[in-house]
Symmetry: C2
Subunit: 330 residues, 2 copies
């Protein structure tokens, strides 16, 4: 019998709820605006309503929903089922989300950091599917840079659930100040925010006329628009994505040397600019990681280090969260 | 009944063989010169003779030696029980060490990278003893910088046994060229070799009269002698250990953010200079790792990130190797 579970992606702007079966098929998804501003009660109401609707349509008496997995952008207190810290979910701190939803829906609920859930989803149904690998490192390039580690087939949470803060790896010891308190974090060079900042810097330096023009027309120029300029051959825009790839490659080389995992997957919105940053990224990895070179010159093709683009897009988190709930209920 | 196993530390200059019981007591150890130059047959002969001597003295018919764990400085092919790469053991490449010794001694044999064995030993009987933790990251500061990761109570080998090459974490993207091909590796700032190089650089720059004097008397000035100068207040020598601590702290901050382990242990010969480099190291960790700050401001004292000096010295590898053999035989 096919088992089914529900995955929730509790983003800062969107709430997505989906029912997933154990073959990894996304049977149905509901997307609503989270309306975080209306407060957590309202978000929980919306989430529960969506879960109930999907349960009614897909759950059977002999095959009920196995559980609900919720991917949350922030640091989770796994033991207590609470959000420990989440800049995008103000007011959720110290609110017992898991127990509140379990009580209401009478189903097993599991909270997971959204980047961890996405890593688990990519491992299960995405880039890591059919690989036979039980390890994967995922880097999510979005507004910030997140990370998820799957080690030995399990999400690596670390001692307090804060593991895989890969965006806060120091890439340039004396680099740009990060809001985490460090200098030169990967996030300061490889996030959408960083791309925008580097564009502003290039314009201020007077070396980027095309970017200047675009910014004059649109002061909120996005990382994607800067990528489009790069694609059209604008050199300063290309240099920005080159810098992004270089920073990402420096960090990846260190993780490859430290973890020797079979697969490193780059996801998140900014990963759409793959062709603009991947060459610089691969150049750094090859020159900086002897573990990469050793594995990839090995005649055993099953033991190559793979660095690849994520394939599931926004569904990775939903699938991963649902899968984690399925396994926990087992 | 107490179980016993044999641990071997196959160093580049010394061969140490010890019998260890399952309470972590080192019952007897034999140290000989490895005489690597005489070839691997001679080393294996010596090792087997020592193992046989210890087996005779400590093994009983009703309680024989459970197995032999051998810590090797290099990259191990775990599947085939061979040394894949070891600069200190020329001629061992593609020699089936495990099978050769198993055949000869008719006991289960396990090969392990020496830094991994040391990490496992520290976890079992050293800094991690009684901690209740199942995760530990060990950094060994010696001629080079090695590393070992214990995750979920097990040595993390990675896909090809090359994991935990922590000495080759990029600390300064444009830094000193490393023999691994990278630039700015931790090893180039935190090994005994690096300390010596930094001393030569300081003398060449004409800013280190005391070091210059010491080098004139002894061209092979060791990292330990430079530490002694630092202890006696020589500023240029203190600056060298400060640089070491800074580089180590930069790398540790990134690992703490990525792994969120309960314990990070610094061992190896250079760790004897702890008081000279630890202040700079801790300063970097505190300013660069928000995960460190978050855990260490948590009122739950069981969940603090601990950065500590290794306690077992040269015995860590012996104990770890023996313990791994015990567990594998179980």
């Amino acid at each position: 019998m096919t088992r089914i579970a529900i995955g929730v992606d509790l983003g800062g702007t969107n709430l997505r709820v989906a029912v997933v079966d154990d073959s990894g098929k996304l049977l149905e998804a509901i997307t609503t605006e989270t309306a975080v501003a209306r407060g957590r009660e309202s978000v929980v109401d919306e989430m529960c309503a969506a879960v109930e609707r999907l349960s009614e349509r897909h759950g059977r008496a002999e095959n009920p929903i196995a559980g609900i997995g919720i991917g949350v952008p922030g640091i989770i207190d796994m033991d207590r089922g609470m959000v420990r810290e989440s800049p995008n979910l103000p007011g959720w701190h110290d609110f017992p989300v898991r127990d509140a939803i379990e009580k209401r829906l009478r189903t097993h609920v599991l909270l997971e950091n959204d980047a961890n859930a996405a890593a688990f989803g990519e491992q299960w149904m995405g880039a890591g599917k059919d690989s036979g690998f039980d390890g994967l490192c995922m880097i999510t390039l979005g507004t910030g840079v997140g990370g998820g580690l799957v080690l030995g087939g399990k999400v690596h949470h670390g001692m307090t659930g804060m593991a895989a803060e890969l965006g806060h790896t120091t890439v340039y010891a004396d680099g740009h100040r990060c809001k985490c308190g460090n200098r030169g974090c990967l996030e300061e060079y490889a996030s959408a925010t960083a791309v925008q900042r580097m564009a502003v810097e290039a314009v201020s330096a007077g070396i980027a006329p095309e970017l200047q023009k675009a910014m004059a027309a649109n002061s909120e120029l996005t990382a994607h628009q800067i990528y489009q300029l790069a694609q059209r051959g604008d050199l300063p825009s290309r240099v920005i994505y080159d810098k992004l790839g270089t920073a990402l490659g420096i960090a990846l080389a260190a993780w490859i040397n430290a973890l020797n995992l079979p697969m490193y997957v780059i996801g998140g919105g900014v990963s759409g600019a793959w062709d603009a940053f991947a060459p610089a990224m691969m150049k750094e990895i090859k020159s900086r990681s002897f573990v990469y070179r050793a594995t990839n010159s090995d005649p055993d093709t099953r033991k190559k280090t793979i660095v690849a683009r994520a394939v599931l897009g926004g569904d990775a988190g939903l699938l991963g969260a649902a899968r984690l709930a399925m396994l926990a209920a087992h």
